[in-house]
């Protein structure tokens, strides 16, 4: 059987690339190819991962400097051809700064870095990223970020809702939406969004840190397993 081929893009300051490698391994994919930011080409793969971390120290704005590197131009090209791209945490920030995903990630409403488990409601299970989940299912995964407060103007938010492009929302363990369950003040409790073709996903939580029984939960592994099944 063909196993999913993936590339993980590494910028100076990226720090969760090995966490993503571990999750992709656990999901049964091939050993991911690590791609250094100075390279201008990306190998032919089924999936491109822009992992978490502090690319360029989060200086200027989180993700801003990485978004203008040559490798991101190559990612945009590949995404246009329909290759699946997932941006996690800092990767999400990079993809919004690069214009692949709408909106922006602002400073957390609490003005503090926040690292804790959150519950996420799966809002659209009909995509390559979420196929392993049921619509409305609540999963648990950690967040770890300073700038995860999702913002988009009202028209954009309406469009995202209307087109089924909200991937995950922060929720209570029972799946209710509440300010208490929203760790960063994101508009409409949005934790992750898709592009128009639903082949690009950006999300703030870390499914890769909920992919091993010893993490205390494996709810995040479904995302990687779903991709492994959908992309081959």
């Amino acid at each position: 059987m063909h196993a999913v081929k993936s590339a993980i893009v590494v910028f100076p300051g990226t720090n969760r690339e090995h966490d993503a490698v571990a999750a992709l391994r656990a999901a049964g994919g091939r050993e991911p190819i690590m791609v250094w930011h100075r390279e201008s080409e990306i190998p032919e793969v089924d999936l491109i991962v822009v992992p978490g971390g502090f690319s360029y120290g989060d200086y200027l704005r989180s993700g801003a400097m990485a978004a203008h590197s040559p490798i991101v131009r190559a990612i945009v090209e590949r995404a246009k051809r329909g290759v699946a791209v997932i941006g996690i945490c800092n990767g999400f920030q990079v993809l919004t700064e690069a214009g692949l995903l709408p909106g922006a990630l602002m400073r957390n409403a609490g003005l503090k870095f926040v690292c804790r488990d959150v519950h996420l409601r799966v809002e659209n299970a009909q995509t390559v990223f979420t196929a392993a989940y049921a619509q409305g299912q609540v999963i648990r995964a950690p967040v770890a970020h300073n700038d995860g407060n999702y913002f988009a103007d009202a028209a954009t938010l309406e469009r995202l809702e209307g087109e089924g492009r909200v991937a995950f929302r922060y929720a209570t363990p029972e799946g209710e939406l509440s300010d208490g369950a929203n760790p960063n003040g994101s508009a409409r409790h949005i934790a992750g969004v898709f592009n128009a073709t639903k082949t690009v996903l950006g999300l703030m939580p870390h499914p890769e840190n909920a992919s091993d029984p010893l993490h205390g939960g494996t709810d995040g592994l479904g995302l990687f397993q779903g991709l492994a099944r959908a992309l081959v």
């Binding site: 200027l60 704005r61 919004t96 602002m106």
Partner: protein, 80 residues
């Protein structure tokens, strides 16, 4: 020439840092304070003698990198 760039959040965008500053100021007893907004200030030297051309370059820099126009506005000053 020397350029100064002010980057501020657009008026519709919530600014939690500005709000925290406002609360802290009122906590310190400064009354009559409102609408505190926090922004960024960037200074740079640009090798360009013509002010209009410098502005154009700076505008390009702001749109491409220095500001995120989804949430931010920017203003450019140049001085010889």
């Amino acid at each position: 020439m020397k350029a100064r760039i002010h980057i501020t959040l657009k008026s519709g965008v919530l600014d939690p840092q500005g709000k925290a500053i406002e609360n802290a100021l009122s906590g310190l007893g400064f009354g009559g304070i409102g609408n505190v907004r926090q922004g960024k200030y960037i200074e740079l030297e640009i090798a360009e003698a013509d002010a209009a051309r410098a502005r154009q370059k700076l505008d390009d820099m702001c749109r491409k990198l220095l500001a995120n126009t989804v949430i931010e506005n920017y203003a450019i000053e140049v001085a010889p």
